[in-house]
Symmetry: C2
Amino acid sequence: MLHRNIITPVVLCGGSGTRLWPLSRKSFPKQFVPLINGKSLLQLTLERVRPLGPGLMVVTAEAHRFMVADALQTVPGSAQVILEPVARNTAAAMALAALLAEQNGQPEALLLFCPSDHHIPDAAAFARTVEQGVPAAEGGAIVTFGIVPSSPSTAYGYIQHGARRADGAQQVERFIEKPGADHALQLLLSGEVLWNAGIFLCRASTLLRALQQHAPDILASCREALPAPLASTEATGPQYVTPLPGAFAACRSQSIDYAVMEHHANVAVVPYTGAWSDVGSWNAVAELTPADAQSNRIEGQGHAHLSHDTYIHAPHRPVVALGTKNLLIIDTPDALLVAHRDCAEQVKDVVAQLESQQCAQAVIHRKVARPWGWYDSIDLGERFQVKRIGVKPGASLSLQKHHHRAEHWIVVKGTAEVTRGSETFLLSENQSTYIPIGEVHRLRNPGRLELEMIEVQSGSYLGEDDIVRLEDTYGRVTPHPVPTP
Amino acid sequence: MLHRNIITPVVLCGGSGTRLWPLSRKSFPKQFVPLINGKSLLQLTLERVRPLGPGLMVVTAEAHRFMVADALQTVPGSAQVILEPVARNTAAAMALAALLAEQNGQPEALLLFCPSDHHIPDAAAFARTVEQGVPAAEGGAIVTFGIVPSSPSTAYGYIQHGARRADGAQQVERFIEKPGADHALQLLLSGEVLWNAGIFLCRASTLLRALQQHAPDILASCREALPAPLASTEATGPQYVTPLPGAFAACRSQSIDYAVMEHHANVAVVPYTGAWSDVGSWNAVAELTPADAQSNRIEGQGHAHLSHDTYIHAPHRPVVALGTKNLLIIDTPDALLVAHRDCAEQVKDVVAQLESQQCAQAVIHRKVARPWGWYDSIDLGERFQVKRIGVKPGASLSLQKHHHRAEHWIVVKGTAEVTRGSETFLLSENQSTYIPIGEVHRLRNPGRLELEMIEVQSGSYLGEDDIVRLEDTYGRVTPHPVPTP
C-alpha cells in the first residue's frame, strides 16, 4: 500500500458523450449523468481514484466547471481543475496536467490518467492493478492498463502485448485500431491482446519527454497556454487553472494514442482482470440493468408486453413496449430515442444531424445546471414561460435585470432572500413576489436546505440572453469567467 | 335531394377507444381526439350528417356531455343529447334514440345511426349512398350500409348480401363475425360480401318493433329509463335527455348486431364504395398520414434514420427512430407507446393491464377537459403542483374553497374576474393574486378571448377531491348533474 500516496490521479473529463443522447448532451455530457444508482460516472471515478494519493487533478471544459465542482464536493481533499477553453483531445489534456505537475514542483510525480466516463465497479481490484504498474512507471515507462477481453468486440482498440519485463509489466508490441469482426476474433484467439481503455500511469517528466520527442508542437502550445496557477481564493473548493484561450486554441487536436503511444518505445501494459465498461453506447448502459426472463431490461416506469431483448429507460412516465424486440427506448422529459440495438453506434450521427437542423434538444436539456443550482423549463406559451428553479444552500444568482420580461416568483420549498430595487426581504414556502420589467433583482438562498421556486415569466421576448448581469458571484459579469468558485 | 330533410341522424358516441391509447383514454375517448387536421372524428361526423335533416341526436356517456356540447357548437342547428349514466352497448343506445323519436311525436322518422369515430372523407358520396337506402327504410326495412372491401381484413365483421330487392337495396343473407385469414380471403373472393360498418337507417317504429320481437327486455328497460324529455333551459345549446340511472343500469348490454340484426328478416344493405376507415387501431391511424420513400409516416417532430415502415406520432417534442422497422411510436405528454405493427390489436390489453395496476395514465390525460375549459398539470412536487388553466370566454369555475391548499394565480393570457371572499376584481395579463387556504373563491372569464392562467398550488394535500363546491353553473354541487348546459 506504500505506492498509493505517491500517485496523483488525473481525471480526464472532456468527453461530449453524444452516443448516450438524449440522456447525455453536449451541455451535460455522459460523465455527469447519474447513471449508476443515482451517481454519475465522474463521481464514481473520483471515489475510485481519490484514495490513491493526496494530489488530484481534473481536466474539463470551462463550461462544465460547476458540475465538476459539485462532483468534487462528494470526495475529501483538495484538487486542481484545469479548465480547457476549447476541446483539444487527450494529448493536449494530458500535456497540461503534466506541465501543471512540473509547475507544482513535482516533475517526478506519478500521474494516473483515467477517463471520467468508464464504469469499474471494483475499486480495490483496480487499485491493486495500478500498483502493479508502479515499478515500470517509476523506471521511466508509460504504463497502460489493458482490459482482458471478454468478447471479440469491434468497439475498442486493442493492445498487443509481448514479453514480460524486468519491472513486472509486459512490453507493448503495438496498438491496434478498432478491428473488423473477423480481425477481432483472430486477435482474441491469439491470446496476446487486451482492450485499450485509455488508462495510463507515468511520471510527469516521462510524458513531457515523450511529447517532446513525438509531438513537440502540442507540448509547445500547451506550455505557452499554461500560466502560473492561480491560488484559490477560498480555503475550501478546488483550485482552478485556466489555460490562455488563444494559445490553447492553436494547439493541434490529437489523441494520446496517435500522438505518442503508437510511436513510443518504452510503453508497458498491465492487464486488468476485473469488470470494466466504457459505457460507450446504449447497449453498454443496458447491460448495467439486470435482464428479466424475456431478456428485457427495464428502468423506471417501463412496461414490456410480448417484447423481448428490449431496454427501456423511463424515469419520468409510463413507457410501454408492445411486441418489440432488440430495441432501445430512451425517454427523457424533452426528447425520445427509439433505436434498434444494432444501431446504437449511429446515435452520434443522429445527434449531429439534429444539431445541424438547429434542434435545441440535440445539445441542451430542458433542465439546465447552473453554478447556483438548476432550472427546468416546465411550460412555454406564446408570451410566457414557467420555470422550476432550485438554488443550493448559500448560493446566489447574479444581481440582474431584464428588458423584456416581468417575473412572478412563488417559493415552494425552503427560504428565499429577494433583492428587488432598494429593498431586500425574505420569502418562505407559499409566499410570492413580483419583479417588474427593468427592475434590478437578485435571488439568494440564505438557508441550509435547497430553495425551490416557481417562476412565471411574462413578456414579449423570453430568451435566456435578455439578462443584464450587474454583479455575479461566479464571475459571469465579464465576458471571460474570473476563476473564483 | 328531397329525402335529406326527413332523416334524423343519431350519432352513437359511447365508445371508449382504448385501442388508440395513449392518445385516446377512457376519460377522453378516440372520437374526441383531434386526429384529422386538428378536427375530431366526432366533429367530422357531425359535419357529415348535419345536412341530412333538421333533427339530430347524439347518444353519449354523461361524463362526456361537455365535450359533445363543444363539438355541437361547430355545426348549426339544434340537437338532442341522450346522456347514458352507464354504457350498455349499441342495442340500448339505439333503443333510447328510437324511443326519444317516439316521444318527440315522430315515430315514423327515418333515423340514421352512425358511429362517431369513423372516418369517411367524402361526405357527399356518403349522403348519396344514404339516400339510396331511403325507399327500403321507408318500406319498413332496417337498411345497413356495407363497405366494399379492399382487402381480406380480419378486423371487421362481414355482411353477405343476396338478391336485389324491389326497393333498390340488396337483401342481407347473413351477418358474419370477424373471420380468420383464410375465411376472410374466401369471403372476399366470393364477391358477395361487404364490411359491416355499424351504420343503419330505419324508421324509429321499425327498430322499436324489431326490438320488441328480438330483445324485448332491452326495449322494456330503456322504456322504463327514459323520462319525458326536459326542455333546454337556454335558447341555444343542445337539449339534454337523461335516462334514469337505476333502470338503465338494469338493461342488458348487447350490440345491435347480436340483439337484432342477426335475427331480423327484413334487413337490407346498400354498398358504400367511397373511402372509409374505422380508425380502429394505430395501423389505421398511420394510414391517414402519407408515407415517405422508406414507407415511414411521420407526424410532428418525428425523425427517422435508417428506419422503414415506422409511424411516429410526435406533436410535442423530438422523437427519433433509428434503425426501426414495422414500428408504431406514439408520444403523448405523460405516456409513451412503442409497438410492433403486428401488435396494434393488443393495445387494448395493455391498457387493461395498466389500469389493473392503478396506472393513472391508463385512464386519464395530464390535460383534462372541463365544462369551463381545461387544465394541464405541468409540474408536481412534494408539497406543490403547477397547473396551466384555460377558461372559455364567458365560462366560470364553481364558487369553491379548499381545506388543504393555497393557490397563486398568474394571468398569462386574457382577462380573469376573480371572486375572493367578499371582493370581486379583474386581473389582466401579467397580474396575479393569492387565494389562502379555506378562502371562498371563483374564477370567471368575462372576456371574448380565452383566459389562460398559471396556478401554483401549495399545501400538504393536493388531490382533486379537496374541493368544496358552493355554487356551480354546470350543476356539479349536487351528486348527479342537473341538466343545464
